[in-house]
């Protein structure tokens, strides 16, 4: 039978409805839809999808198990490689990873691997299928810094190998960017993130929240006094960047980190104690996934929302799906536009933003065409809230308190592709090493580092 070249579409909340709530946008596949989509897979002998997956999930195998309605088997297959499938199925940029090289994508549409992964993970959760703790122990202790994607992955891989792992998390909740950054409507917190964190704990991983490494305790103390044999640093990105334009310290100017943390981690949208300035008209500066998240959050809090981005649509670094969803929901894109100044009133509140039109010139170092100001094209937009989503620079808390830990010229921690830092027994991965990237790349780094740590621990015997 000829394979259907088109994907089984995924059901979503109506854009007009979802623009006013924080419920999840995508409903995901049901069993029938999942089986139908899975049966499009050609089960290639040389599966190119696996090579595109940073944690090397055996994709053809789990998809085949779906076609046989062996959903539990599919879950076990995924779990061999990833403990966070419900997260990855939702937030990975599959179009550039597993789905990118899919053979079906050449003449038709690639298999919806992400949606299938999510289906399997959700099915397993709904059917209370959980990972099991290994029944052996190596007696080796590993400290993992940060309970984000890199740390959770590294910890679970090490626990599977029988090591005694403790994660130290600075915030009051485990999850890192999964809880403070990515909004509820893309990644439900209680339903999805908390459950996958639970699964990591089920493997025997301990999580200590409220511990800021470098302040509450240093890495050297963990190694010398607390009895840890190795340390993995997955402390994440860092300090939010600002533009350095006039008016940026005014009230009503947020970093995307602050805006999202207030809403996601501190649950301002649920009416918890932490306040958020909702705004009537909001401008989000930037074009990445974080900018889309901030804009779609502001929209849901009731604001007319604009994205201001200095290049054109083709250069938007955000995932195509996020841009598409944002547009559907009514977010306006002011492209080839760049802020010059934030206009403030007498009490130093934002009252507008002065922007200038841009055009694209020759390609710059990043290979993208450099945006150039068009002289005399400034104009003002009346807004009461500005959110800067310009990325982050590394946090110095750990590098400045750990002797002999090398950092590069961007102040990121230096680690080789196996996660080895300049210090014996100390490994690192994720945004702390690479600078701001994606959840799945951090997970991939955490997984690789876990393998190196395991090898290192064996040398201690």
């Amino acid at each position: 039978m000829a394979k259907n070249m088109k994907r089984v579409p995924v059901r979503e909340q109506e854009p007009k409805v979802r623009a006013t709530n924080f419920e999840e946008v995508s409903y995901g596949y049901n069993e029938e839809e999942a089986v139908a989509e899975a049966s499009r897979c050609l089960n290639c002998k040389k599966p190119r999808c696996v090579g595109g997956c940073p944690v090397s999930i055996n994709i053809p195998k789990f998809i085949h198990q779906i076609t046989e309605r062996d959903f539990e088997g599919a879950f076990r297959t995924i779990q061999e490689s990833s403990l966070l499938p419900a997260v990855c199925g939702r937030v990975c940029p599959q179009e550039t990873q597993c789905e990118g090289p899919c053979v079906m994508g050449i003449k038709g549409e690639a298999i919806a691997i992400g949606k299938l992964e999510r289906f399997v993970a959700d099915w397993a959760r709904e059917h209370h299928i959980v990972p099991e703790k290994p029944d052996f122990s190596t007696g080796k202790k590993v400290a993992v810094i940060g309970a984000g994607p890199a740390g959770l992955t590294c910890a679970s891989e090490l626990a599977k190998k029988g090591h005694d792992v403790t994660i130290f998390e600075a915030l009051h909740e485990a999850g890192g960017v999964l809880v403070y950054g990515i909004p509820e409507f893309r990644l439900p917190k209680e339903e999805v993130v908390a459950k996958e964190v639970e699964n990591v704990k089920r493997l025997g991983v301990k999580i200590q929240t409220d511990v800021v490494i470098g302040k509450s305790v240093t890495i050297d103390e963990l190694l010398d006094e607390e009895g840890f044999d190795a340390v993995f640093i997955g402390s994440g990105a860092g300090l939010p960047r600002f533009m350095g334009i006039p008016g940026e310290q005014a009230n009503g100017v947020y970093s995307a980190n602050e805006y999202l943390t207030r809403n996601n981690l501190m649950k301002a949208f649920k009416g918890y104690d932490t306040p958020i300035h909702k705004g009537k008209k909001v401008v989000v500066v930037g074009g990445g996934n974080v900018a889309m998240d901030a804009a779609r959050t502001a929209l849901r809090l009731g604001a007319e929302t604009h994205i201001v981005y200095r290049r054109s649509e083709a250069e938007l670094p955000a995932r195509a799906e996020e841009v598409h969803h944002a547009k559907e929901e009514g977010i306006q894109f002011d492209l080839l536009t760049n802020p010059k100044e934030i206009l403030v009133d007498d009490a130093d509140w934002v009252k507008g933003i002065r922007v200038i039109k841009m055009e694209l010139g020759e390609p710059d170092d990043s290979g993208r065409r450099r945006p150039i100001e068009i002289p005399g094209s400034e104009y003002d937009i009346e807004v009461d809230t500005v959110i800067m989503a310009l990325g982050t620079s590394p946090n110095p808390l750990i590098s400045s308190t750990t002797k002999g830990l090398d950092i590069n010229k961007w102040k990121c921690i230096v680690a080789d592709e196996n996660g080895q830092t300049s210090r014996k027994g100390i490994f690192a991965g994720g945004d702390a090493v690479s600078g701001a990237a994606t959840v799945i790349l951090a997970m991939g780094a955490g997984k690789k580092a876990a393998a190196s740590i395991d090898a290192y621990l064996k040398t201690l015997d």
Binding site: D210, Q249, A347
Partner: protein, 295 residues
């Protein structure tokens, strides 16, 4: 959970709490702060560290409350617990990082305004433990609101207490005491002033006139306290600084206090006003034109 080993009233609505927080107690130094979260719905609130007991694993915070409902923290009793206590955060005071020999050559003045007396105390205590006598000015609005006087007396070289209304000690604000003491011939090499922003601003104007380098401790709005959110940004000199990772102590003569005060008034609603008045407590004299406390 982080148990409150002891909660006690220092003054009418000023509460002192000793909290079990072993990580913080083991590592904190004068000048640092911590963040507490009372319960699931609670905000992450930065608190200055007033004292610590490394052996017992406890830290002491001092906070001010204004009646039921304004702040749920007010109702916490001995035996209750905070859901979260994180720290120590920020950098230790520059002074405690200075070699003792150098410190012994310096004449140091500490100024605590209202609740700001609490974070001044561990610094003065640290100096005393290292054999350094310092001058301390403690200011409060009125007699009943003078806190930690006995504790301070035990560790300060000279203690000068003043009340705005003259009901106890000297009469007038802390800036007046600085000027009076200077007029009497006192000189200092460095001043540390901690209290409400408006008090620190005027202290700095006074010490600038007198040519005394001055360190202030900023306590702006924060969310995470680890550098992630940028809510606590300040202008110091011409640079943007994050109070949580670059501070909380800064060169007071370079801090843009007017901006800092405007930023602090960000969540100024009816409730916000009450909260701000609460934060600055009875050391809030109005006049900043922002919080409505003088209306």
């Amino acid at each position: 959970m982080y148990r409150i080993v002891k909660a006690s009233h220092l003054a009418d609505n000023i509460v002192r709490m000793d909290i079990e927080a072993p990580w913080v107690a083991k590592h904190c130094l004068p000048g640092q702060f911590l963040i507490v979260r009372e319960d699931e719905r609670g905000e992450r609130l930065p608190m200055t560290i007033c004292d610590y007991d490394r052996k017992a694993g406890t830290v002491t915070i001092v906070t001010q409350t204004v009646g039921a409902g304004t702040c749920r923290m007010a109702e916490l009793q001995t035996g209750d617990a905070f859901m979260d206590v994180v720290g120590p955060l920020g950098n230790p005071s520059e002074l405690v990082k200075t070699p003792i020999d150098e410190l012994k050559k310096k004449k140091i003045l500490f100024v605590g305004g209202g609740l700001g007396t609490a974070p001044v105390y561990p610094q003065v205590k640290w100096m005393h433990e290292h054999g350094i006598d310092v001058d301390v000015i403690v200011g409060a609005k009125t007699k009943d609101l003078v806190i930690l006087e006995d504790e301070m007396k035990a560790v300060a070289g000279n203690l000068y207490v003043t009340t705005d209304d003259g009901s106890y000690g000297r009469s007038g604000m802390v800036t007046k005491v600085i000027e009076d003491l200077a007029a009497e011939g006192k000189t200092w090499d460095v001043c540390v002033a901690i209290g409400p922003m408006i008090m620190m601003k005027f202290c700095c104007l006074t010490t600038k006139k007198l040519g005394i380098p001055t360190i202030v401790s900023m306590n702006p709005i924060m969310v995470d306290g680890t550098g992630m959110c940028g809510a606590c940004r300040l202008i110091v000199g011409d640079e943007v600084k994050f109070a949580c990772v670059d501070g909380p102590e800064f060169d007071g003569h370079k801090v843009d206090f007017d901006l800092a005060m405007k930023r602090q008034a960000q969540y100024k609603t009816e409730e916000g006003r009450a909260l701000l008045a609460f934060e600055e407590g009875d050391t809030h004299h109005g006049g900043c034109g922002l919080c409505g406390g003088d209306k």
